[in-house]
Symmetry: C2
Subunit: 423 residues, 2 copies
Amino acid sequence: MAVVVMKFGGTSVANIERIKNVARHVKREVDAGNSVAVVVSAMAGTTNQLVEWVREISPLHDAREYDAIVASGEQISAGLLALALHKLGISARSWQGWQIPIITCDTHGAARINRIDPEKLKKRLSRGEVAVVTGFQGIEQSHQRIATLGRGGSDTSAAAVAVALGADVCDIYTDVDGVYTTDPRIVPTARRLARISYEEMLEMASLGSKVLQTRSVELAMVHGLRLRVLSSLTEPENMPAVDVDRLDEYGTIVCSEDEIVEQQVVSGIAYAKNEAKVTILKVEDKPGVSARIFGPLADASINVDMIVQNVTPDGKFTDMTFTVDSTELPRALEVLRRVSEDIGCHEIISSDNVVKISVIGVGMRSHAGVAAIMFDTLAKKGINIIAISTSEIKISVLIDSDYAELAVRSLHEAYGLDAEEAS
Amino acid sequence: MAVVVMKFGGTSVANIERIKNVARHVKREVDAGNSVAVVVSAMAGTTNQLVEWVREISPLHDAREYDAIVASGEQISAGLLALALHKLGISARSWQGWQIPIITCDTHGAARINRIDPEKLKKRLSRGEVAVVTGFQGIEQSHQRIATLGRGGSDTSAAAVAVALGADVCDIYTDVDGVYTTDPRIVPTARRLARISYEEMLEMASLGSKVLQTRSVELAMVHGLRLRVLSSLTEPENMPAVDVDRLDEYGTIVCSEDEIVEQQVVSGIAYAKNEAKVTILKVEDKPGVSARIFGPLADASINVDMIVQNVTPDGKFTDMTFTVDSTELPRALEVLRRVSEDIGCHEIISSDNVVKISVIGVGMRSHAGVAAIMFDTLAKKGINIIAISTSEIKISVLIDSDYAELAVRSLHEAYGLDAEEAS
């Protein structure tokens, strides 16, 4: 008997048929004797409609009212799922953030969960009742107002509820059946990973893989909570119910490194398309110049990712290249134009025709030569590297976007990630 | 400076344009220095969509979940109106039932308001902030669950909030500009009443006039709260702001009888189309027969309105005629078929081809001859009266529905209610 938190996103509860399908997934767990809390997002489309209404009234809106409005989406889906469970003969009750309560900070629209009082839920779970919890929201304490966690926050809600309940696993149901060594649409031989470490998952998520929200993984990592990525599209009755000793049978488990027995050196290849490259030509090479470039960008809340600096032959000037999120390129250029005179630059060139390819694996910590394989593989295919950045468990390169698929495929093969047969 | 509660129904907040229009109505009051609480319904259509989803899952649903789901409609409209007010430079905050709190009983779906704690709202109003309150809902105390008041409950919410705040007036904005002596679509010379008593308004409402919800009028009557019926379709700037000494300038005031100086004997003519007539032929005329007919109907929660009993010439049998709401006719017939043998009846006939026409006026208490005028007028037009019922301030007759318009027009003229010119 396990305590299980199940999370279903907006696509999984997009209409009444799908909500009934979710109810069958929950029934499978209840029938197996597990204690279940379910966290749901709003029905797909609902939140967008609400946000559109808000924008129609005022593009600059009060965050408290915005939160009160958009939080209604999850209240609807949670109530409907509770009713669908009743219909299957399962005792269930919906819980809005303020009813539990899920206490958040007062940063409306991007609130963090401070704490969850698990007593009411625990009591209900212990008598066999399913708790259906609204994702994405809580209540802040200073004014007792509803606060939302920001888009995708339901993953975080699920992880937080699971931690509060001391759950054995937090199952995140999505439209994919797990985490893959790379995007199967690009590499048909990509393999589903049975397990992946928190650290690797965080790198994956930050690189644009949208399987799990970063904060949910961070939360799970801090508290040692096992997350699992599963598909909600599988027929509910074709999946095994949660058995803590046999979690590997289905999906991908996100867990701590030491729970992964056969750790590969490289776990996956990620790529991020939404990169843009900015090069500032012939900046004077003197102390403080970086600060005068990156300070104003930081002030404008623009995240700079990779940075490369080349010194010109005469040593007086330098070319500075860096990347930003492509959606922020126009704002970044505007900031740079303002500071260009100050830094004495001659020309700014930019392009969003670049991608970032990353090789990820905690095994890198103890294995040398991972970077060499990467550079060698790309060189053999004639792919030019524009910039490089590394972390303890990741090597990223920026390349021309024309070569994205070729690079991912070649690296996937080079690190021995291909499945034996195409799946 | 007055304390004003303004209530806007679903049609008045049906889309963003109309919500902005409502905001201008509120601004007029704020600009005049009045303290304002606004009570809103859900955007027209929203509640129906939510109810439809609930029914799709299960026609027999848990009332707590139903309430949690449908209550979201007002949360959206209240938040949007607060934002529209901000856009006009007005300080405003939305309030859900649980945040105030509005404490209700736990009869989910048809809850009654037990009490409202006005302290938070009063504090905000005193600093010039507008409170936008979700209509139709509160929180019940035993489980801290959202409870709704039943359809049309926002009128009741508004009256209850007004009583709690000690408001000078509760302005109910609708799609008509007041209460008329009769339906202007039938009688073009119908006049808008400047004032109507609570008692008369209750009779009007119970007779199918949907201007105000019955419970809101009862609440106002008990607490001596002045209600006013106004049109939300009038340009907000073309209406005067509330001035307690000049409330008569606009709409219809619902108030206590002694606040009405020139009380007419008859205030209005109402008609109810949704009547159905049932006749049980040749029932044995002996003690207890009525109980055996109306007992089972009451057990099935079917309201019986008018009852007429004729004795046959030989005195052994009786014909029993009564009316029920036409939507309940099939259920009523089913009940009667079950008991027909028991009561020894020979035949049951029914028709929904009838209407109830009522003459209403508190002046009847002190004036004789009101009924005589009614019967005389109808007789002159050759209209047959099927049944009659009376109260202290009302005479109702059941007639063939073909004569409905003729009867209303003739009575309206006979009691001198016609305006001097058609409006």
